[in-house]
């Protein structure tokens, strides 16, 4: 079907017809002119997304009010920061992966392990858990007057590398666990049976059956976790403990907010972009990862595990459950110590409401942007055009949120009063950060829709709105709800973007927690953390309900 020769009418609005672009320029204009109502949202979305990135890059290139300060290259401090950023990310990634492997094996192979599906669902929450909730929990457990601190060796100090590693492993181990468990489970029954018939020893079976299945994902998971930790901000700012444990991400923030030194912030942002973006492009070639899918039912035949193997696996599982639950559970007794009359209830309520409004707006915007871009994507037949559109939707994966924020901040500073308009940037940038994830989750569903129902619907001749309301919307609804929930939780826990655009008077829940624990009001911080966690849980309930 060629859309190029059709006249504009209702049927074009309603039918998702594959389009081949006219080749001459006048034809293109005419073609576009006829279809502007359906093409407009996509055009606006792409313009916004690319516009923001271009703006950030223009600022990074030093075309704004501030140049880029390259004298940092001569400073030992800069190299130490870079070195520490890489070192902590590397350690976090290796620890997360190495600890996840035995537990994932037990989860996938030991059918008698209790509470598995609960645990894996909990893992999903851990991975998207607002860092500040975790940080409060870790301080309550391992801080200077923490519950478990007396059990630790003398000279233990949470603040510094140890705290950063604890938090990063907590946040990323669950992700690795989920991916590895699915991978182990995906080994076909036949392979297990065969290995049993051939009488392979445990080691031989591992090498010939299990290793090939893992080899595909272990490097990708390590790379991905490395990147997440390299770009981590809240954890390092809160648990870094001074100039000795600073990462690039925190140094960017400090250059802009502590020193008000845009040239230095821009230089550090470049470094962050080159390292993180470069590594992302490298790692993304190693393939995608499955982590959102729920645990498959344990029906298939699994090999018999040795007694030692089972006990070892069960023990690892138990430790892992403790490690992933204690920092959250400890919040309850800590919060109960709060002097209820001293808790700033009204402020807490106002701050929560503000956080929820911002997060809902960001999640809605992310969904709208993704749908708008997909409306273009599905109308073009050319694979090149489709790939271009995909790149536009996904390119924010390469640019760390902090870099994007600093770029936009510095670029618009002369014209825009960020004290007043910061909230707009917070919504917009949180939406852009969530967009790649939303797009990737929605795309297969839209593809499926077009593949199955397009010919059918072409004959139905529904108007645009009835079509959306009766067919397209309901078809996408489960995915929309799921991605909305996750984008909402991500935006709710946002710390970095708010750190740049927010201010002291106008906090969100994570920043309120940060301030409370900074002034040693741990009980109230725990209370606020529980509140934040509750909000996240409510949103994720939506997700799980539609998954079952």
């Amino acid at each position: 079907m060629s859309g190029g020769t059709r006249s504009a009418n209702d049927s074009i609005m309603s039918r998702p017809v594959l389009i081949n672009l006219p080749t001459n320029r006048t034809g293109l204009w005419f073609w576009f002119w006829q279809r502007w109502p359906i093409m407009l949202p996509g055009a606006l979305a792409l313009l916004l997304m690319l516009g923001i990135s271009v703006m950030a890059f223009v600022a990074l290139a030093g075309w704004g009010d501030a140049g880029v300060d390259t004298t940092l290259l001569q400073e030992p401090w800069f190299w130490r920061v870079l070195q520490f950023s890489i070192w902590q990310a590397l350690l976090s990634a290796l620890l997360s992966v190495l600890l996840a492997l035995p537990v994932a094996r037990a989860l996938a192979l030991d059918q008698r392990l209790p509470g598995k599906s609960w645990f894996l669902r909990w893992c999903l929450l851990c991975f998207v858990m607002p860092s500040l909730v975790l940080i409060t929990g870790l301080v309550a457990l391992f801080g200077r007057s923490g519950l478990l601190t007396p059990l630790l060796p003398d000279g233990w100090n949470l603040y510094g590398l140890s705290g950063i590693l604890l938090a990063h492993v907590f946040l990323n181990l669950p992700f690795a666990l989920r991916v590895f468990t699915f991978q182990w489970q995906s080994i076909p029954q036949g392979a297990w049976k065969m290995s049993a018939q051939l009488g392979l020893s445990g080691w031989q079976r591992f090498r010939l059956v299990e290793l090939p299945a893992l080899r595909a994902v272990v490097p990708a998971v390590t790379g991905f976790v490395f990147l997440l930790c390299f770009n981590s901000f809240a954890v390092v700012l809160a648990l870094g403990g001074g100039p000795r444990a600073t990462t690039l991400e925190v140094a960017i923030f400090q250059a802009l907010k502590y020193d008000f030194n845009p040239p230095e912030a821009l230089f550090l942002a470049w470094t962050q972009l080159l390292v993180a973006g470069g590594l992302y492009l490298m790692f993304s070639r190693w393939g995608g990862l499955q982590w959102l899918t729920p645990l498959q039912p344990d029906s298939g035949w699994r090999p018999h595990l040795s007694r030692a193997g089972r006990i070892g696996g069960g023990f690892a599982y138990l430790l892992c459950v403790l490690f992933l639950s204690l920092p959250v559970l400890v919040l309850i007794p800590t919060a109960l110590q709060a002097n209820l009359s001293a808790v700033p209830w009204q402020e807490m309520l106002q701050v929560s409401l503000r956080s929820v409004i911002l997060a809902i707006s960001a999640a809605c915007l992310a969904l709208l942007l993704a749908l708008a871009v997909l409306s273009w994507w599905r109308r073009f037949a050319s694979p090149t055009l489709r790939r271009l559109i995909e790149t536009a939707a996904l390119h924010h994966l390469v640019i760390p949120g902090m870099v994007l924020s600093v770029g936009v901040y510095v670029m618009l500073m002369p014209w825009l009063n960020w004290q007043e308009w910061g909230w707009l940037a917070i919504i917009l940038l949180n939406a852009l950060v969530a967009l790649p994830f939303v797009f990737q989750q929605l795309k297969p569903r839209v593809f499926e829709y077009d593949a199955n129902y397009r010919p059918l619907l072409a004959d139905l001749g529904l108007g645009a709105w009835p079509h959306w309301k009766l067919v397209y919307g309901p078809f996408l609804k489960p995915v929309l709800q799921r991605v909305f929930a996750i984008s909402f939780v991500l935006a709710l826990g946002d710390f970095a973007i708010f750190g740049i655009f927010g201010n002291d008077e106008w906090r969100t829940l994570p920043w309120m927690i940060y301030t409370l624990s900074g002034s040693y009001r741990l009980a109230e911080a725990a209370l606020a953390s529980l509140l934040l966690l509750m909000l996240a849980l409510v949103a994720l309930r939506l997700l799980e309900r539609n998954h079952a």
Binding site: P76, G242, P243, F260, N261
Partner: protein
């Protein structure tokens, strides 16, 4: 009905998303948050001033003096500030150079200001001052250091504040540079070996010290007065260094974009009045800038250090280099 509920929602959204608007006879003062906290001088000064001006006074607070300055700078001509209160002498030159303030138009010789301040500035009005000092617990430490050299060789643990975010931290930076000159980098390195942690603000550092996390904490010579007056506790004392101590003079100034210039001038005069000057020492725990204020006896027991330091212009010029020197020395 529909319209009303929408309007309501908009109004709710607006209150949540933005701060209140400004009315005609309202004076807006930007300051730091411990000044306006319930135990700080803010509430009392507000009551006193509102009783005499027939206006309403609104505080807008930032975390500390440094972020206060950054905020005014970012807001530029859109600022709501009529008055900026709570930056210190070390940040004066920067504020002036950035064009954030305007001359106060007052004749300061009309007030009995302490002679040691030797104050002649036409833009900034001092409202309190203090000397930076390391505070120790006399029940734990019987022989406190009497100079920087002794402190840096004692091996005693220290908590101090980040010079980029906190005015005491910045004060330590001036102090170390005033005492050690070219050797400041080495002094920082020695100090780093004894440092428990570098905090973002004063209150984090001080509460850690009170919980027994370190032998010394960077604070003010006046801090022991707080413990004496409020807690009748005499164990916390300031170590007097023979090298001399750097002073912090807290100042207020008219915003360059003030809407209420006359009210703001009136507030500056009020800050220097006897009643305001009597409130500040026992709420902000700093020394009054007038020499005729009667203070609680506890203030007589405080050490009386020799003042050393730099002019605001020198500080303004050297600050970036000193910060660099600090971060390179302590990140090792």
């Amino acid at each position: 009905m529909k319209i009303t509920s929408r309007n309501l929602a908009c109004a709710a959204l607006a209150t949540v998303l933005s701060s209140a608007s400004v009315s005609a006879s309202e004076l807006t003062v930007y300051t730091y948050s411990s000044f306006t906290s319930s135990w700080g001088p803010g509430p009392q000064l507000k009551t006193l001033f509102e009783a005499q001006c027939g206006c309403s006074l609104t505080y807008v607070s930032s975390d500390d003096g440094v972020s206060l300055l950054n905020r005014v700078r970012l807001e530029g001509s859109n600022t709501r500030a009529d008055l900026i209160m709570g930056i210190d002498d070390a940040l004066m030159s920067q504020a002036r150079e950035l064009g954030l303030v305007q001359p106060h138009g007052l004749d300061l010789s009309a007030w009995p200001l302490r002679s040691e301040l030797d104050w002649k500035d036409d833009t900034f009005v001092p409202f309190d001052y203090g000397y930076f000092a390391f505070i120790y617990d006399a029940e734990r430490l019987t022989e406190p250091a009497t100079s920087f050299a002794e402190l840096l060789t004692s091996g005693a643990s220290v908590i101090y504040q980040d010079p980029r975010t906190s005015t005491p931290g910045q004060g330590l930076m001036l102090w170390i540079n005033a005492v050690h000159g070219e050797q400041a980098g080495e002094a920082w390195q020695q100090l780093a070996a004894q440092t428990v942690t570098v905090t973002k603000g004063w209150s984090e550092a001080y509460s850690m010290f009170l919980k027994g996390e370190s032998d010394y904490v960077l604070s003010y010579t006046t801090s022991p007065a707080y413990h004496l007056v409020a807690e009748e506790e005499s164990r916390y004392r300031a170590a007097e260094f023979s090298d001399g101590h750097v002073a912090q003079i807290e100042v207020a100034a008219l915003s360059a974009h003030a809407q209420q210039v006359e009210l703001a001038q009136q507030f500056l005069q009020f800050l220097l009045s006897e009643e305001a000057q009597s409130v500040i020492p026992v709420t902000n725990w700093m020394l009054p800038v007038r020499d005729d204020i009667e203070l609680p006896d506890a203030f007589d027991t405080l050490i009386q250090p020799t003042r050393i330091g730099f002019s605001p212009e020198v500080i303004q010029q050297s600050r970036p280099d000193w910060i660099r020197e600090w971060r390179n020395a302590v990140s090792q």
